[in-house]
Structures are given as C-alpha cells and as structure tokens.
C-alpha cells in the first residue's frame, strides 16, 4: 500500500494546488487594461512604436503589448483572436481580413515607402531606371543576386507583386529566398553584395552598417500604406475591443498623427501621417 498511497495522495494534492494556481493565473493573466497589438517586425524595429506608445499609455491608462511578427502571422493572430488589434501594411490581405469578418474596419494610419537597395557599384545598372518594373527587369536580365524575404511578410508580398508587374518570373541561382526578417535580409544582402527590396525605416536603421546604397526609389508603386484593424468582437467576444478602439482613435487622431510626423530616424522623417478625415469622423463619439 505504501508507495501507492503516498503517490496518489501527494499527486492529487499537487493537482489541486496546480489547478488553483492555474485558475488564479487565468484570472490575472489578462487584465482588461492590456491591449495586445500584433504588428510587423519592420514597424517595431523602426522604433516608431516605442516612440508613440508610451504617450498613449500615459494618457489612456492602457498598457500595450506589442507582438512583432511577419504580416501573415500578425493577421493570423488577429483571425484567431489571439490579439486585440493589428497594425500591418499589406493592403490586399487587410481588405480580405476585413471582408471575411475577422476585423471590423480598416483605418489608414500612415505610409512609408519601399526602396530598392544594392551594392554601391550597382552591377545591374539599376540607378536611373524609368520605373520600378524597369529596375526589376534589369536585375533579372543581369542575373544579379537578389535576396527575397521569402517569409510571406508584407514586404515579401510587395516584392512578388512588383516582379509580376515587371513581367519577370524570379527564379534561378541569382534569386534567393532568405525566410528571415528585414534586418537579417539586409545583412545577408550586404554580405553577398546582392540587391533587395526594403522598407525605408529598416533601411535607415541599418544603412550605416551596410555596404549597400539605394538603387531605386520614388515610384508610387513603392508606397507602403499602413492600416490598423480592431479584431472583430462579435467573433471573439473576449478581445479588448474598447482598448483596441481607444488605440485606433489615438493613432489616427491629432496627437498620434502629429507624433508620427515628428518621428525621425537619423534625422529623416520615416512615416507620413495618412489618416482619412471621414474615417476619423466615424470614430467621433
């Protein structure tokens, strides 16, 4: 009897204790004042959120937990109700997200742009191209090394759409998919002397450490609008919808927009505030 007894007794005690603990953790795990924001790595890495959110937290009393992942994953988290609000830049995917009912409504927040960067000596002669399609075609023609994010991120999707517009199927030795974040990909491109498409924010943060230069910029096709979407509370009743809406209201409101415009990296403005007046009006109480 002895071993068995003691085992059963202690174990049941432990189970009880654990489940009690579990319960208390579950209770305390997600206080209402926490807003969980899924966003893209590039947004977070630029430092913008760290510059903005403390002001929002101070004035609203909410605490924002930023989870930075790829766009695909961020939207997936929103779809599953694992976060309260998403801030991403992949227009098509965002619209689909809203249309399928996972998000309530997309609000324009800001935009930045993508730039094509490459080795300083520009082996494909991309500099001075007519438009971005022209630039991409030149790279393909020269079979100049190109590093793709290859991670289903917004940047990756953008890049793929640009190849399509350029009428080139990117394949072969020269085209490599890294499956990594933007910073990593820039480092790889730097090491390999390759071209890559990057958002300007990450580029500014990295350019000093890299042997790369901007090869092409300015085509409207390269503009990169950011949208913010609250997860649909009808689908996921537990989400902190009030918090999400407070954050959205702040971001597209006067203070958020002013601070976005004031944010600089290496002395350069990174994001252009892009809130639409009619959308702001929607949120007025």
């Amino acid at each position: 009897m002895s071993y068995r007894h003691i085992f059963v007794r202690i174990f049941s005690l432990l189970l009880i204790a654990l489940s009690a603990l579990q319960f208390s953790v579950a209770q305390a795990g997600e206080p209402q004042q926490v807003i969980r924001l899924a966003t893209t790595t590039s947004t977070d890495n630029s430092g913008l959120l760290q510059a903005l959110l403390p002001h929002f937290e101070k004035s609203s009393g909410y605490k924002v937990h930023v989870i930075a992942v790829g766009t695909g994953k961020a939207l997936r988290m929103g779809r599953d109700g694992d976060v309260d609000v998403v801030l991403v830049h992949a227009r098509k995917a965002e619209d689909k997200f809203v249309k399928e009912g996972f998000g309530e409504r997309r609000f324009s927040v800001m935009y930045n742009d993508f730039v094509l960067v490459g080795p300083a000596d520009d082996p494909a002669g991309v500099r001075g191209s007519r438009d971005v399609g022209d630039a991409f075609r030149k790279i393909a023609r020269h079979k100049a090394p190109f590093i793709s994010r290859g991670d289903d991120s917004g940047t990756h999707k953008k890049e793929l759409s640009l190849w399509k517009k350029a009428g080139v199927k990117p394949e072969g030795q020269w085209y490599r998919e890294a499956g990594q974040g933007m910073g990593k990909v820039l480092q790889i491109a730097g090491e390999l002397g390759a071209y890559t498409l990057t958002d300007r924010g990450t580029w500014l943060a990295y350019q000093e450490k890299l042997p790369l230069r901007i090869a092409f910029e300015g085509d409207p096709l390269l503009f990169n609008p950011y949208g913010i979407i609250a997860v649909n509370p009808k689908l996921h009743p537990h989400v902190n919808h009030d918090g999400a809406m407070a954050l959205i209201r702040w971001m597209i409101g006067k203070e958020g927009q002013t601070r976005i415009a004031a944010f600089t990296l290496h002395g350069q403005q990174l994001f252009k505030p892009d809130a639409k007046a009619d959308e702001v009006a929607l949120l007025k109480p």
Partner: protein
C-alpha cells in the same frame, strides 16, 4: 574582426553601466525560468519516484516516453503549446498566450522530461534500503519519500541544474508563446534573437555573455554535484 571587437566593447559597457533595459530582460529570464522549475519539480519528482518505486502496467512505456520527449526540439514543443493555448485551441479560454504564464508553461513542458528522466535515473539507482529502512523505523510514507529524496539529493540536483540550463537558454518556445513583448515576455534568448536580427550585436553579445557565464556556472555546479553523488555511493 573589428566589428566583433567593437560589439564586445559596447557589450561590456552595457553590462557594466547597468543598462536598465538589459537588466530588465535578464530579470524576466530568471523570473520565468525560476517559476517554471519551481512548478515543474515537485510533480516531476513524484512521477520519477513512481517510475522508480512502483510497479504498474505501462511503467516501461512511460519511462521510454519521457526519454523520447527529451529530444523533442523546443520549437515543436512551442508550436504544440501555441496551438493549444491559442484562442482557437482547446485551452484558448485560459487566455495565456503572449503572457509570462505561457512562457512558464512552455518551459515547464521543456523541463519536465529532463526532470523526470534524470530524476528517475537517480532514484532508480538509489539504494532501495533507504526507503525500507525509513519505513521499518516507523516513518510515514511521506517522511520516507523525503528520506529517499534527501539520500539522492545530488542526483536530483543534477537533474534540476540540467533542466534549468535548458530552459534559461531556450528561444523557440519562449518566442512563440511569449511573443517577445518588451518589458514583459522578452527574455535573454528572445532578445538575442531580436537584437541580432536588428543588427544590434552589442546587446546580443552582452546577453550572450550572461548566458555563457550562467552556463559555465551551472556546468561547474553540475560537475561538483555529480562528483559528490559519486563519492556518496
């Protein structure tokens, strides 16, 4: 080479100057991994004890199950738990994902097989007369259990240190379950992953140095403790 030197220099500077963000990350690491070990150890010890001292059907299967679990990659553990804890998973209602608790759960899952397998090995090789002598001297089963634990403490401590070593340096599960949230679920390994991906090698190196130091200490302790264990028997 100069880049490495430069980064190392900055790393030392960060460590010495007591950079608050850095120490916050270190504190989170210790808090999470410490809680995980504290919670995992008692039940793991009980199971190890049961495997070593009880004869019941399926015992062998359980033993090999736990040694198999030892070699499951952390990312797989992380992914499995992610799917369980996600709002759409069966345990979604617990609302644990992207909290420190989720990281603790993940690290418990990682530490548990180590604790059970190594604890079982220690208890198995322990002298059965310890339990018998305690019992026949009038000790209650509970007291006898603690006697056995006490007599095998070095082996068990080795299991504890090995488990702690694994979870404090583990990145996959923590990243997935915690979400690498600043000042909340960003621990040493996930911070290293992030900082290197951002090209901030200095902070990566500073944190890496802490891990290295820790690993060194743990290993030293482990050797010391295992030496003790050998001396005893």
């Amino acid at each position: 080479m100069s880049a490495l030197l430069e980064a190392t220099e900055k790393a030392l500077e960060l460590l010495i100057s007591g950079d608050e963000a850095l120490w916050q990350i270190i504190a989170i690491s210790f808090k999470v991994s410490g809680s995980a070990i504290l919670i995992a150890t008692p039940p793991a010890l009980l199971i190890a004890f049961a495997l070593a001292y009880l004869r019941f059907p399926g015992r062998r299967v359980l033993v090999s199950l736990f040694s198999t679990l030892l070699s499951v990659p952390a990312v797989v553990v992380g992914l499995t738990l992610y799917l369980l804890l996600s709002n759409r998973g069966p345990l979604g209602d617990w609302r644990l994902l992207f909290t420190q608790s989720a990281m603790v759960v993940g690290q418990i899952a990682l530490a548990f097989p180590i604790l059970v397998a190594m604890g079982h090995a220690a208890l198995q090789s322990a002298d059965k007369r310890a339990w018998e002598t305690a019992r026949t001297l009038g000790a209650s089963p509970l007291r006898a259990f603690f006697v056995v634990i006490r007599e095998t403490r070095f082996g068990l401590l080795a299991a504890l240190l090995a488990a702690y070593g694994r979870i404090i340096a583990e990145v996959g599960a923590s990243m997935m379950l915690g979400g690498n949230i600043l000042n909340y679920t960003r621990n040493i390994p996930t911070a290293i992953a992030l900082e290197t991906s951002k090209g901030e090698f200095a902070q990566g190196i500073a944190l890496g140095a802490i891990l290295l130091l820790l690993a060194f200490t743990l290993n030293g302790l482990l050797h010391y403790v295992q030496g003790k264990g050998v001396q005893m028997s």
